[in-house]
């Protein structure tokens, strides 16, 4: 039931809810949850921002779901990147040392190679993800959705009992 509602929200988000910009920001922010190890302080801030800022919540969920496998896949590279930044760049050591001794900052686990590497990775990828998602949602709404609504298969589905069942769980 919960899954069905989530699916409905995702479909509605893609189809009509919010501007493509809001959906794209949601996906970009949700991708942080997927790309970086979840239980970390920066993700608490991301979740708070997703709730507080007027961005699409279902899109953030979609971003999380889409990017979690990519995060697992990219872990070796994140580990290597974090290792280079934390351990193999002597010029950065004074900054890391200062951060390590500031209250609360060490709780962010920034000194873990995978956390830092993935966070940097997400920061670098956030803008491309945003632009790609905005373009994708815009194109989908203007080009793909009207054609989809016009297909015989879709009309058949809308006329079916399955669709009635789907509508039964509509929240509004």
């Amino acid at each position: 039931m919960l899954l069905l509602r989530l699916l409905q929200k995702l479909v509605r988000t893609l189809n009509s809810d919010g501007t493509p910009g809001q959906v794209a920001v949601g996906i970009a922010m949700g991708s942080a949850l997927g790309l970086t190890p979840l239980v970390n302080l920066h993700n608490v801030l991301i979740i708070a921002a997703v709730f507080l800022l007027n961005v699409s919540l279902p899109a953030a969920m979609l971003g999380w779901i889409l990017f979690a496998p990519i995060g697992f896949l990219f872990d070796p590279w994140f580990d290597a990147l974090g290792g280079v930044l934390l351990a193999d760049t002597p010029g950065l050591v004074p900054m890391w040392t200062a951060l390590y001794n500031i209250p609360v900052v060490p709780l962010s686990n920034y000194n873990n190679t995978v956390v830092l590497g993935s966070l940097i990775g997400w920061i670098v990828l956030a803008a491309p993800i945003f632009y790609l998602a905005r373009w994708g949602v815009g194109s989908y709404r203007t080009k793909v959705l009207p054609r989809l609504l016009d297909t015989k298969v879709f009309k058949l589905v809308r006329a079916s009992k399955l669709y009635n069942l789907y509508q039964l769980f509509q929240t509004d």
Binding site: T19, P37, V39, A48, F51, L52, L53, N54, G71, F72, D75, P76, F78, D79, G82, G83, L86, A87, V93, W96, T97, A98, L99, Y100, N101, I102, P103, V104, V105, P106, L107, N109, N111, N112, T113, V114, V115, G117
Partner: protein, 593 residues
């Protein structure tokens, strides 16, 4: 369009509230689980904790029922602690660092039995690595055998065989080398054969036989002189070549002769090996002590080395960033890098710890001890003060009269300085079965004194057991004259001292063992069995001589023969060249008249 979604504030705050409350209630089990997982991972055997209570409001942590499995004996606990009460400073927790003002450990017991096995299926390959290193060192330390079998039975020299001896093999190698260099040198001498030059010189000399200024004219004389000088130069060049070869041959022969002399050393080694093969024991006290107490010394020194190296690994000096394995999680663990800073907080600091230690149940060592640890820090360079450990006995019906332990672990600078001084008087010392003898020695109550100093990578120290109440049991010693002598000697000893000395590099120090038991055995056996030992040694010597004399003589003869052959050829060549040179010089003088 609005940027903020204000209506989300309340649910978000509620969500955070639920998370905080959940975290608060789950903190105890999270701490318990973390201690179990991290401890098990580090040790390579199960670490169990019955309860953990964390009260952040008053900064206290109480752990109950900690059991740490002995990795080498999974049904036994290395240590069991009934209760640990710690007082924390809250400020450093915000920096993810633990600063314990005071910690009290009550009911600490060692070697207690476990209800279930503490072995784990797939231990982390890192865990136990140090233990393995120390074990490898221990197995690399040679401990001689002490066997009296060679003195009790007939000496069977059949055990000494040529294939067990080094000398014949070395002698054969020298002979082969001599043959090989002889061929090479003769070949080189043949390639420097002076015959063509000599023939050419003789032809020049014969051509000018009877020639004079008058018969040749001035120009003819000048041409002839030039021709003779050229020939003389050719003769000199060949002679130089032969001289150089002679020099090189001389050096080669010298090397061969040195190798022949080295056969004497091989013969001595063979003799020592033959004594081992025949099990004729060395009766020197410095050889007997390691044979009797070497294994015991190793068994007791191993844990010290292990803990000294553990201290270095987990309490490293300096302020360099430290890379440690990251936390276990579904995602890749990676590494976590610590960045210590002077005058900051170390990841773990215990300002003052008091440990109520219980040892040995009802035995002499049994009783309660109070151990105090001051200024423990996982990053001593950050903390800035060395760790000090002291211990004393607080309660005992019987057992040690005095226990005194002071240890200082100074890892503040990169030059590590650790020292341990332990003295226990009136303590029940161990019972030992003397290897190779079979007699059991019960040291009774005595003094146990340990001094260990580490400075940088070098380690020096000694461990002394002394007792004046030693009792002896025949154990598995057999009958016979030698065994009777040993038993009489040992059973008369009332005072025993065993001292193990350690020196060298921390990774693999040298051990030396000294004991008056060995001196007594040595004196007694020498006095009573001097003739038998001398006879056995003479038989071994004769047999070795019989087997090595001929190979040594053959090798020596081979080298002498090579030297003579090449020397003869060299001399022949040089003499012929000198002869023709003299003829040419006479010709020059004749032309000049």
């Amino acid at each position: 369009m609005r940027v903020f979604r204000w209506k989300a504030v309340t649910p978000l705050v509620l969500l955070l509230g639920v998370m905080v409350i959940g975290w608060y209630f789950l903190l105890d089990s999270a701490v318990r689980r973390t201690i179990e997982v991290v401890g098990t991972d580090l040790l390579g055997a199960k670490v169990d904790l019955a309860e953990a209570h964390v009260r952040l409001a008053d900064g206290s942590v109480v752990l109950r029922g900690l059991e740490v499995t002995n990795p080498d004996a999974p049904m036994t606990n290395l240590v069991q602690i009934d209760e640990i009460v710690a007082g924390l400073k809250l400020g450093p927790l915000l920096q993810k660092k633990i600063f314990i003002d005071t910690i009290a450990l009550r009911g600490v017991r060692f070697g207690t039995a476990r209800k279930t096995s503490g072995a784990i299926g797939n231990p982390n390959p890192r865990s136990g690595a140090l233990r393995r290193l120390v074990s490898e060192w221990a197995s690399s330390v040679p401990v001689p055998e002490f066997s009296i079998a060679g003195l009790t039975g007939a000496v069977n020299v059949a055990a000494i065989r040529p294939e067990n001896l080094k000398t014949p093999e070395v002698a054969l190698r020298i002979r082969t080398a001599a043959d090989s260099v002889r061929l090479s040198w003769v070949g080189q001498l043949q390639s420097l054969d002076p015959a063509p030059v000599i023939d050419s010189a003789r032809a020049v000399a014969q051509g000018l036989q009877g020639a004079s200024l008058r018969s040749l004219g001035v120009q003819g004389v000048v041409r002839s002189v030039r021709s003779v000088r050229r020939t003389l130069d050719d003769v000199a060049a060949v002679r130089n070549g032969i001289e150089q070869l002679g020099q090189s041959i001389g050096e080669g022969i010298q090397t061969l002769r040195e190798e022949v002399e080295g056969l004497e050393r091989a013969r001595e080694e063979d003799l020592a090996n033959a004594r081992n093969l025949l099990q004729i024991p060395s009766l020197e006290a410095p050889d007997i002590s390691p044979a009797l107490f070497g294994r015991m010394a190793l068994a007791r020194i191993q844990p010290l080395l292990y803990w000294a190296q553990m201290a270095e690994r987990y309490i490293p000096p300096g302020l360099d960033p430290r890379r440690r394995p990251g936390p276990s999680r579904a995602r890749l663990a990676g590494s976590s890098v610590e960045f210590p800073q002077e005058r900051g907080y170390a990841p773990l600091t215990v300002a003052f710890a008091e440990i109520d230690l219980q040892l040995g149940g009802e035995g002499a060592a049994g009783g309660r001890y109070r151990v105090q640890i001051v200024d423990f820090s996982s990053a001593p360079s950050v903390h800035g003060r060395p760790m000090r450990i002291s211990a004393s006995r607080t309660d005992a019906g019987s057992g040690p009269d005095a226990v005194y332990l002071v240890a200082v672990l100074d890892h503040v600078t990169s030059h590590i300085r650790d020292s341990v001084n332990l003295r226990i008087a009136g303590f029940q010392l161990p019972s030992i079965t003397l290897p190779g003898v079979g007699v059991r020695m019960d040291l009774g109550h005595g003094v146990n004194e340990l001094t260990l100093v580490r400075s940088g990578d070098s380690l020096t120290g000694s461990w002394l057991w002394s007792s004046s109440q030693v009792s002896w049991d025949r154990g598995s010693i057999g009958s016979g004259r030698v065994n009777d002598i040993l038993w009489r000697t040992l059973s008369a000893l009332r005072n025993v001292e065993v001292e193990v000395q350690v020196a060298g590099n921390i990774a693999g120090p040298r051990l030396a063992v000294r004991s008056n038991v060995a001196s007594a055995i040595s004196r007694s056996l020498r006095r009573e069995l001097a003739n038998e030992i001398a006879a056995a040694e003479q038989r071994a010597r004769d047999e070795v001589e019989r087997l090595v004399a001929q190979p040594i003589a053959d090798a020596r003869a081979s080298v002498n023969e090579v030297a003579a052959t090449v020397q003869r050829l060299l001399t022949q060549h040089q003499e012929r060249l000198d002869e023709v040179k003299a003829e040419l010089e006479a010709m020059l003088r004749q032309l000049g008249r």
